[in-house]
Amino acid sequence: TVRVSWPCGGCSGRLRQQTWKIHFILLFSRQGKLRLQKWYTTLPDKEKKKIVREIVQIILARHQKTSSFVDWKDLKLVYKRYASLYFCCAIEDQDNELLTLEVVHRYVELLDRYFGNVCELDIIFNFEKAYFILDEFIIGGEVQDTSKRSAVKAIEDSDMLQETVEEYMNKPAF
């Protein structure tokens, strides 16, 4: 098998660059509907769509009893299902997969803390909040804060700064 090389948008210079950043994060439902996509490398839109389709297919086809890791191109996909949502992180081959599982879990915890008993519908109707929370947790593919509370606090404080409260209610009823 010939390994296809992965264009590393954030790195330049050496061929075998040892970076440990996350390359992208995808959230999708069991039917394969995309709920969030965060890319930490530069790619054309068309390419991103193709990749999303491919990866969603690979992961949805995975057997229950397999590991949470999939070799894909020269990256590794770390995925975990929480209720009806799949969380998928693409990391470098050399990175620590077990820790990435913890990163995913921490993100879920932050969502849960903010939304209170978070479910997929929260993410669907408040997708921009999901992004805001993610951006308080990870920048450029690296974790920026390891505290359970400070990311959520920052979002809540930011919410307070919003000029039109009626526009964006924290926990909308629907």
Partner: protein
């Protein structure tokens, strides 16, 4: 003008669509409304409209017309606008659109904003998608914020700096002063991002690495405090304090300790402490242990620590959690070279992993198993691996087969065992065996002289029932052609010789020729085999003549050519036939350029062909050389086809020799032999020119010229030739072993062939 509908309402509406077409219609309607709203430069609802656009973008619909609107939002004074604007920028814009540069000024202003959350937005956006130009313009601002006492901003600035360095490595120096006190911070966020920043700098610059080595004691202290400290609810994960920070510190220690005795010594104790005291019941503890193991293995640790690390991996292998087992196998694969004996102790557990359901685990277990095969355990290991070959998924079979061949070649306890193992692979996974394995196996069989009878018998029996597996059939045909006389005379010693007649043998070979399943190459083997049997069989020569003449009009050009030449051999050069078709001599070991060498028996983690080899000189690191259509792909094809053409070359040589066999007087005293192109495929062209030697009229001097019209240089080019026993061959040194690309040069080599004047009919050995 009514207010545009709200985001949540739009989402709700779109979700009621029952078909894709219905959804598309709704989206188009809303996009039209949004477009006209944009045209009207509506400030109030711009934010709402862009948010809706972002939602539709996620569903897969185009949203590029919102790019400029995002910029307007970013420039707005309202926080709500900025929030959505920056989000939109990160989702819809990137460095490939010129328009993104318009953000630079806004970001610059926002980096100096009075509200930290605005500054945060700017830092985040720059750190996620900032282009090289933006990074260059704004690096100064980032550096300023790196020195602020506001930890909320400081941690973001650190990661922003990491991104800047990744995009514009030359700017790394300017961040050096700001790193001075980073590790003195109490805030975990700042600590974590500082360690990330330091790691990035050390990885990129040996000078930085040397400079930061002095931080080792401080890092050790921080790590120790984390482990010893009491429960901290904010950073606790299942009883472990800030595992993210622990792992990043361990990683930085690894980089600093690599190749440095003093640093490695300084971290020895803490590593031992973490390795022994970390709670292993949950994933988080194992994540830390995993990183610790990687660090121990990479630095100059003492042997006791290394054994400790391997044992952790051994325990991982027994863990119920598949993820842990996966990680263990990956790490063991990395260390199997350096700590071979320690890893051997876990061999049986590793072999058990071959039976795992998970494909990734199986692959790693297979690679590791091959790495662990040695002279002592080869019988047992091969048994397991052959069983694995039988039952594994098709994607593994080729690699597994290659691995078995290599291991068998290295460690076979006996020739019989070796042949049996090969047979087993060919019969179980015969269609997955790589093309180059065929010539390798043929050579192996040729050289196992005492096993010829046994081998041909076993191969014959193998294809009797089923001749669909091409590599098996090719090897079998070749052997039958060579050793068919042993087969019919029942000379096998190793096992009960079978009774088989010449006609039966020809039956099977003819079936192969006719069969739809036979590839063209296979047919070539079969035909040549039949021809060779004309000198080994006694009763069926007429039958052979008939077959050969039939194929003289075959549609397959290759077969036709062979048949015509063999026909000629019967008709005009019958006295030469025995000499030409006699037993192949023992072949010298050829170092192939083909893929067999990269199989993972030496425990490398990269089994792919093109990655382990150093790139040929014509290749640029950044090029997409691994794509199917690119240069690298055609290199692989070329290697493959070169191996396939071993037989073709033999055929060429036969033809060559047949030309010599014509009365030497006739040829040599006339105009001379015209030069020929002996080989011209996939960009490789080999020309032969002929001259009579000045000193000895019986010697013909052939000059070969090899040229290369592909885009890559061909390295390790070796020309080999064989002649029948009646001739003598001398190969002089080639001018080089590298054929430059684009026909920019050639390799020249001189071959001298001696044809004794008198060739007697009775010569037959």
């Amino acid at each position: 003008m009514p207010a545009p509908i709200r985001l949540r309402e739009l989402i709700r509406t779109i979700r009621t669509a029952r078909t894709q077409a219905e959804e598309r219609e709704m989206i188009q309607k809303e996009c039209a409304a949004i477009r006209s709203s944009f045209r009207e430069e509506d400030n109030t609802y711009r934010c709402r409209n862009v948010a809706k656009l972002l939602y539709m973008h996620m569903l897969g619909y185009p949203a590029h017309f919102g790019q400029l609107e995002c910029l307007k939002l970013i420039a707005s004074q309202k926080f709500t606008d900025k929030r959505i604007g920056y989000l939109g920028a990160m989702l819809l814009l990137d460095e490939r659109q010129d328009v993104h540069l318009l953000m630079t000024n806004c970001i610059k202003n926002d980096l100096n904003h009075s509200t930290q959350y605005v500054q945060g937005l700017a830092l985040c956006t720059l750190g996620c998608m900032g282009s090289s130009e933006m990074c260059r313009d704004l690096a100064g601002e980032v550096e300023k914020l790196l020195k602020t006492s506001n930890s909320y901003l400081r941690k973001k600035a650190a990661l922003c700096a990491v991104h800047v360095i990744r995009k514009v490595p030359e700017l790394m120096e300017m961040f050096l002063p700001a790193t001075k006190n980073l590790l003195n911070e109490k805030n975990h966020g700042v600590l974590h991002t500082s360690v990330v920043l330091l790691t990035e700098m050390c990885e990129r610059s040996p000078d930085m690495l040397a400079h930061f080595r002095k931080l080792v004691p401080q890092l050790v202290r921080i790590l120790k405090n984390l482990i010893m400290s009491g429960y901290s609810p904010e950073h606790d994960v299942s009883g472990i304090s800030d595992p993210f920070l622990q792992v990043r510190i361990l990683r930085l220690l690894r980089i600093l300790g690599r190749n440095d005795d003093d640093s490695s010594e300084a971290m020895n104790d803490i590593l031992a402490q973490v390795a022994t005291n970390t709670e292993t019941s949950k994933n988080v503890g194992n994540a830390i242990l995993y990183e610790t193991v990687l660090t121990i293995m990479d630095i100059k640790s003492e042997s006791g620590l290394r054994v400790l690390a391997i044992n952790i991996l051994g325990r991982f292998l027994l863990n119920n959690d598949k993820n842990i087992r996966y990680v263990a196998l990956t790490s063991l694969l990395k260390t199997v070279q350096t700590d071979h004996n320690a890893v051997q102790r876990h061999r049986s557990t590793i072999v058990d992993c071959l039976k795992d359901l998970d494909v990734s685990i199986k692959r790693r277990a297979m690679e590791l198993s091959f790495a662990l095969v040695n002279g002592n355990n080869v019988r047992g290991m091969m048994k397991e691996l052959l069983y694995f070959l039988d039952s594994c998924e098709p994607e593994f079979k080729a690699d597994c087969a290659s691995g078995i061949f290599l291991a068998a070649e290295k460690y076979a306890p006996s020739k019989r065992w070796h042949i049996d193992t090969i047979m087993r692979v060919l019969t179980t996974a015969g269609s997955y065996v790589r093309d180059d394995a065929v010539p390798n196996l043929i050579q192996l069989i040729t050289n196992s002289v005492e096993m010829h009878a046994y081998t041909v018998q076993r191969l014959y029996k193998a294809i009797l029932g089923d001749y669909s597996q091409q590599p098996l059939v090719q090897v079998a045909s070749w052997c039958i052609g060579e050793y068919g006389d042993l087969l019919v005379s029942g000379q096998c010693e190793e096992e009960e010789p079978i009774q088989v007649t010449e006609d039966e043998v020809l039956d099977i070979l003819e079936s192969i020729l006719i069969s739809n399943m036979s590839a063209s190459v296979t047919r070539g083997y079969a035909l040549t085999a039949i021809m060779k049997l004309s000198t080994r069989f006694t009763c069926t020569v007429n039958r052979i003549k008939k077959v050969v003449s039939i194929y003289g009009s075959s549609i397959d050009v290759e077969l036709q050519q062979r048949a015509v030449e063999y026909n000629a051999l019967f008709k005009k050069y019958d006295h030469m036939r025995p000499a030409l078709l006699e037993r192949m001599p023992v072949m010298e070991k050829v170092t192939t350029n083909g893929p067999t060498e990269i199989v993972q028996t030496n425990g490398e983690t990269e089994p792919a062909v093109l990655e382990t080899k150093p790139p040929p000189s014509g290749l640029q690191p950044g090029s997409q050389c691994n794509k199917d259509t690119g240069a690298g792909g055609s290199m692989l094809n070329l290697q493959k086809s070169l191996c396939l053409d071993v037989m073709e070359m033999t055929s060429v040589m036969l033809r060559m020799v047949s030309r010599f066999c014509k009365s030497p007087d006739h040829y040599f005293f006339s105009a001379g032999i015209p030069s020929i192109t002996a080989y011209n495929k996939n960009g490789l062209k080999i020309d032969f020119t002929f001259e009579r030697s000045n000193t000895n009229p019986s010697v013909t001097v052939i000059t070969i010229q090899a040229s290369n019209s592909t885009e890559l240089d061909m390295t390790d080019f070796v020309f080999q030739a064989a002649v029948p026993k009646t001739f003598q061959l001398q190969l002089l040194s080639p001018s080089s072993s590298v054929i430059p690309a684009f026909n920019s040069g050639t390799i020249t080599q001189v071959i001298k062939v001696l044809n004794p004047q008198k060739v007697s009919d009775s010569e037959n050995s």
